[in-house]
């Protein structure tokens, strides 16, 4: 089921004395294609969960419309929308067994949809099998691990065959190992059922690794929408560039002079097409190439060996963070004798942003360092 948001806006009445309204969701206007897994990504308080609540129907929008396919569901109450919602804390009913929890939505069906107890059980067991918890049906949520509870919550959301599945921070309550496992699991369940799934997260790793498409948000405003790799490679503004990627992108206060990017006193990269003047340069850690004759000199402070690759930590006075992190393939002959290390840069991994608007400044990446 395709989900379409049209000019969707949600304002909350002010809680401070000045009486300013809080705009949690500002004029969202995008389409989520059918059968895809979509990650709503953004820092805390950016309106991700509100968006989810609007789609689920738990909150009513101030303005705008929501469509599932061609149905306008904006005014429908949550129970008539055909959505399954998995809460951040799962909201499993502690006094019911796993089976009873999963059966609960089915027990609410009325009229011609009403099911016999056997049918309900059959459906519930089917859903339990899908999330691989069929051996835990008689347990109560209190005696289960976070990961198992998560699966029960997903099964409960899926048992009614929703048109859209919503997950609110599905992995935030799990430990690191379980998180990796569960995100694969969510991907698998989504692909097996083919239900359009929207999940909210503040963890870019999580969003990038399993989503077909990510929606990056900040302060109630959509920043960029696209496949994760595309958003990573082509961030539209500084926020998106810094929000995606670990280690963080390295941000420098730089300038352009004569078609070249200048950081400190190094003319590090030809950037044909960029205007002269002050500029923000952001370089992905993997954009550095160790090069004895490279144009970019950094003061080495330490080397972190991570096995597969090596993280070179250095400093530069014009870097906005205390350290510049670059990831290079690990090599035995790297000597950390202090002093200067020299790099050349991969043009595709360097992004320029306007210092005022922080919007992306394009340049042609064809050139090479001279």
């Amino acid at each position: 089921m395709k989900v379409v948001l049209r000019n969707l806006t949600k304002k909350f009445p002010s809680r401070n004395k000045k009486g300013e309204e809080v705009i949690a969701v500002n004029n969202f206007d995008f389409e989520i294609p059918d059968g895809k897994l979509i990650g709503l990504l953004g820092p805390s308080g950016c309106g991700k969960s509100t968006t989810l609540n609007l789609i689920s129907g738990l909150e009513a929008p101030t303005k705008g419309q929501i469509f599932f396919g061609d149905d306008d569901v904006t005014r429908l109450p949550p129970e008539n929308r055909g959505v399954g919602l998995v809460f951040q804390n799962y909201a499993l009913y502690p006094h019911l067994t796993v089976l009873e929890n999963i059966m609960f939505p089915l027990g609410n069906l009325k009229g011609k949809d009403k099911m016999s107890k056997q049918d309900m059980q059959k459906k519930a067991i089917e859903a339990a099998r899908l999330v691989q918890i069929e051996q835990l049906l008689e347990r109560r949520p209190g005696n289960m691990s976070g990961g198992q509870q998560q699966r029960v919550a997903i099964a409960r959301a899926l048992v009614k065959r929703p048109r859209v599945l919503l997950l609110d921070e599905p992995l935030s309550n799990l430990d690191a190992r379980l998180r990796l496992q569960t995100r694969e699991e969510i991907r698998r369940i989504q692909q097996e059922t083919g239900i359009t799934t929207i999940f909210v997260t503040h963890d870019q790793d999580e969003a990038m690794s399993i989503s077909d498409m990510i929606v990056v948000m900040k302060a109630g405003v959509v920043q960029q929408i696209g496949p994760p790799q595309e958003v990573y490679d082509d961030p539209v503004n500084l926020f998106v560039a810094t929000f995606l990627g670990t280690p963080l992108i390295n941000v420098f206060d730089a300038s352009v002079s004569g078609g070249r990017l200048v950081i400190g006193s190094d003319r590090v990269l030809p950037v044909p097409g960029a205007k002269d003047g002050k500029i923000i340069a952001a370089i992905r850690p993997e954009g550095f190439i160790l090069d004895r004759d490279g144009p970019f000199g950094l003061k080495l402070s330490r080397v972190e060996v991570m096995g597969r690759d090596t993280s070179v930590v250095s400093t530069h006075p014009d870097c906005r963070s205390p350290f510049v992190r670059s990831i290079i393939p690990s090599r035995k002959d790297f000597r950390s004798d202090g002093g200067l290390v020299r790099f050349s840069l991969v043009p595709e991994k360097v992004h320029l942003f306007d210092p005022e608007s922080e919007k992306r400044v394009p340049f042609e990446t064809g050139g090479t360092v001279q």
Binding site: G57, E79, L96
Partner: protein, 296 residues
């Protein structure tokens, strides 16, 4: 090690002293009294040991009347007061404006003196030479005859006693239940609403089980409190409860000790132990039932 345990005993001493003096010693004493036949408090003498006190009390019509009154009171007031309190709490939980005001109003009886409340009930129900009381005026208005609630038929007196008891115990129950309702995580309601549960099913399947420990607590304490009823009856019907036929078990115990016909600590002790046995049995039954119905 030895020194440490000495220290421990020293720390425990105040509690042990108090509990020993005011709990354990009297309890043992009650047991002893109840078994001493023909105990005379003036001469501190008795002529036998046995179960005569119990058989006397169990055959005493006043005691049987008190047991009947107490059981009626318990059976009527505990479910009714808990149920009504639950309804009021649900109502309080559902409204937003004036919630604080209503909470205060419902809590007022809790901080009001029992005897003062008894007086108010007298004015409401008592028939005097000058007036039939407010309730009777209302009964007249609906075309019913005068009922003497304080000195009249048994059912009328029982009605007043139950009404009074319910009114007195309600505030505490409302307080407990409103806080229990407020402590239910609203996510459960959101989840249930997402799943399409109507409000009746939400109440039956989610709210009720979630607050069941508190309801259970109120039922247990309600049972115990109602079995121990005494001052309510005194407030309404005066101190000579046997004459009014409205005595309770605790009232009977008191009368046996200090009342007009009093001076029989042995009978009082036996009655007290019978009450204890009743309360213990009922509480055990409650616990057994609760294992199935209460979800912690």
């Amino acid at each position: 090690m030895k020194k440490n345990s000495l220290k421990a005993w020293l720390y425990l001493l105040p509690a042990i002293l108090f509990l020993g003096c005011f709990m354990v010693y009297p309890l043992v004493d009650v047991l002893v009294y109840s078994l001493e036949e023909g105990y005379n408090s003036a001469s501190q003498s008795y002529y036998g040991v046995g179960l005569y006190n119990f058989s006397y009390v169990l055959r005493d019509p006043y005691f049987l009347q008190a047991v009947k009154n107490t059981f009626l009171l318990v059976i009527i007031t505990v479910p009714l007061s808990t149920g009504i309190a639950l309804l009021i709490s649900l109502g309080l939980n559902a409204i937003k404006p004036l919630r604080g005001f209503f909470q205060t109003v419902y809590f007022l009886p809790y901080v009001t003196n029992t005897l003062a409340v008894g007086l108010v009930f007298m004015i409401l129900f008592k028939k005097t030479a000058y007036t039939d009381g407010l309730v009777n005026l209302m009964l007249h208005f609906f075309g019913a005859g005068t009922v003497d609630f304080i000195d009249g038929p048994y059912w009328a007196k029982m009605f007043v006693l139950c009404f009074y008891t319910i009114w007195v115990v309600m505030p505490f129950k409302i307080l407990i239940l409103t806080s229990a309702l407020a402590s239910v995580n609203p996510e459960y309601y959101s989840a249930a609403r997402m799943d399409g549960a109507n409000s009746r099913r939400i109440f039956r399947k989610i709210t009720l089980p979630m607050i069941s420990p508190m309801i259970f607590y109120l039922v247990i304490t309600g049972f115990i409190g109602a079995f121990k009823a005494y001052s309510d009856a005194v407030a309404l019907f005066g101190t000579d409860l046997n004459a009014a036929g409205m005595n309770t078990i605790v009232g009977y115990v008191y009368d046996m000790l200090y009342g007009n016909s009093g001076g029989y600590p042995s009978f009082a002790s036996a009655a007290a132990l019978i009450l204890f046995a009743i309360v213990l049995t009922i509480t055990c039954i409650n616990l057994l039932i609760s294992n199935k119905r209460v979800h912690y």
